[in-house]
Amino acid sequence: MLLEFSQPLEYTGLANWFDTTLGSWSLPVKLILVAVALLAAYAIIAMILIYVERKITAFFQARIGPNRVGKYGILQSVADVIKILLKEIIHINNVDKFLFFAAPFFMVVASMLTFGAIPFGKALQAVDFNIGVLYVTAVSSLGIIGVLLAGWSSNNKYSMIGAMRSGAQFVSYELSAGFALMTIVVLTGTMSFSEMIAKQEFCWNIFNGHISSIIAFVIYLISGHAETNRGPFDLPEAESELTAGYHTEYSGLQFGFFYLAEYLNMFIIASIATTVFLGGWMPIQIHGFDGFNQVMWYIPSYAWFFGKTGVLIFLSLWVRWSFPRLRIDQLLNLEWKYLLPINLVNILVMVILVIAGLTLTDLFPILAS
C-alpha cells in the first residue's frame, strides 16, 4: 500500500517542484525530509511534554512549577536539553560495556518506530502498514529489551531488580494492551490505522461498540500506562525503593534518552488510544449537519489529533499524581486476575455485538461513513 506522506508537499506545490527539478533524486530527498520532520516532531513533542508535565504536576501539588527560564518557565525544557548535553557520560566499572551502550538505542528506536506509525493528521503518517495495530504492538515491545539490557548490564543490584520487575510487568500488560486493541479490530474489521480513522467519521469506536468499547478503552489506558513505566506503575524505577531502578547507573545524555523515550511513550500510548478509540485526527462530524461539519473541517486535522491526545495525556498525568505506587504482586494481580479475564470476556462480548448487529453503526446505518 502506498503512502500519501507527500500530500503536504503537494499542497504547497513542492512535490511537483521536486519531481521536475530533482528528477530521480526526488525520492531520496523526500525521504530525508520525512526523516527530518520526524526527528523534529519527536524532539519538540518530548520537550513540550516535559514542560507540560512539570507544570501540571506542580499545579496538582499546590506548587507553581518551572517559572525561571523564560516567561512562565517556557524555555525550561530547552535549558534541560542543553544541560543534559553538557553533562558528563560517566563510565562505570565492571559494566557490560556493549550492552550498556546499546540499551538507549533500543529505547529510542522502539519509540521512534512506533512514533512513525502514528497518524498525526490527514495524510500525516510516515509508516502506514495494513497491519498497523500488530506493527505497533510488536515494535513498541522492543523498548522492554532496552530496559532489560540497561538493568542487566549495569551490574548494579537496584538496576537488576528494576529490570526484572520491568520484564514481568511489561509482558503482562503487553497482553492486555493487545487484547484491548483486538477488541476494536473485531469491531472495525481492519488493522490499519488509516482505515480505522476513516470508519470513525460519524461515530467514534468508543461509542460504536458502547459497553465493550468503553471497557476496552479503559483497559487500554491502564495497560498502556503500565507499559510506559510511569506512576503508579513505575516499579522498574521505584524511586523510593530502588533509587532509580534500571537506569541508576546512566548519566548525561544516555540517561536523557531513557527520559526522552519515557515521555514519548506516554505520548504514543495516548495517541494510539486517540486513533483507535476517539477517531484520531477526524474532526467531530454530525451526520446531516453539513454546515457544522464544514466548519469543523476548517480546524486542521492535526489540531484535532493533538487536542484529543492532550486530553488523554492530562488524564494520565492526573492518575500518575493521584495514586501511590503499586507493589509487584498487586501489579501482576491487577493484570492477571482482573484485566486479562475481563478482556477475554470483553472480546467475546464484542464479537456478539458485532455478529448480532448491536453496534451503533449497525443499529443506525446512517452513522456509517
Partner: protein, 173 residues
C-alpha cells in the same frame, strides 16, 4: 459464588476509592498555590521578630554599645562560637578599666540556642533577623561584631528590648 461477589465488590469499591482520590487532586488543581517566590518576594517577606539570624551588638548613633566585655556570653556558649577579647585601658582619673577590644562570633559554628543573649547582664547583644547570610568562604563567617572605634555607653539608656520577654537574665552563668 461468594468469592465471585467478593471479586466484583473489590473491583468496584477499588475503582470508587480511586475516583475519590482523583477528585481530591482535581480540586487541588484549582486551589491557590503555596510556593514562595523568593527572591522576588524579598520586599514582602515577613521574617518573624524572634527569628535568630545574626548576632549583633547594637550600636547607637554615637557609636556606643553596652558590652562590658565581661565574657559571660563566651562562657555560656556551648560550642565556643563567641570570642571576647578585652583590653585594659587607663581612664582619665587613673583607674584601670577593662573594655571591649574585639568581639568575634562564628556564624558557622553557632547553634542559635540564644543562651548568650538571655544571659547577657547588660543586654548588649541580640539576634537580628537579617536572614541572607550566605558567603563564599568559611572565613567570612567569623564576624567582628563591635564597630570600629566604638566604646562603652556611659550611662545605661532605658531602652525597652523587643525580645526576649521574661526574666531569664540570671539563669545561667
Amino acid at each position: 459464588m461468594n468469592s465471585i461477589l467478593k471479586y466484583f465488590n473489590g473491583l468496584f469499591t477499588g475503582i470508587k476509592s480511586l475516583l475519590i482520590g482523583m477528585s481530591v487532586t482535581w480540586k487541588e488543581l484549582w486551589t491557590k498555590k503555596v510556593t514562595q517566590q523568593y527572591p522576588e518576594n524579598r520586599a514582602t517577606l515577613v521574617i518573624s521578630d524572634r527569628f535568630r539570624c545574626e548576632l549583633t551588638i547594637p550600636h547607637d548613633e554615637n557609636n556606643e554599645h553596652a558590652c562590658t566585655a565581661c565574657g559571660i556570653c563566651q562562657m555560656n556558649c556551648p560550642n565556643g562560637t563567641i570570642n571576647v577579647l578585652s583590653a585594659m585601658i587607663e581612664t582619665e582619673d587613673g583607674k584601670k578599666k577593662k573594655i571591649l577590644d574585639t568581639y568575634t562570633w562564628d556564624l558557622g559554628m553557632c547553634t542559635f540556642c540564644n543562651l548568650c543573649v538571655i544571659t547577657c547582664p547588660s543586654d548588649a547583644i541580640k539576634f537580628n533577623n537579617q536572614y541572607e547570610n550566605a558567603v563564599f568562604t568559611r572565613s567570612k563567617m567569623i564576624q567582628k561584631l563591635n564597630h570600629k572605634g566604638s566604646k562603652l555607653r556611659e550611662k545605661k539608656k532605658e531602652q525597652p528590648l523587643k525580645f526576649p520577654e521574661g526574666g531569664l537574665k540570671d539563669q545561667v552563668l
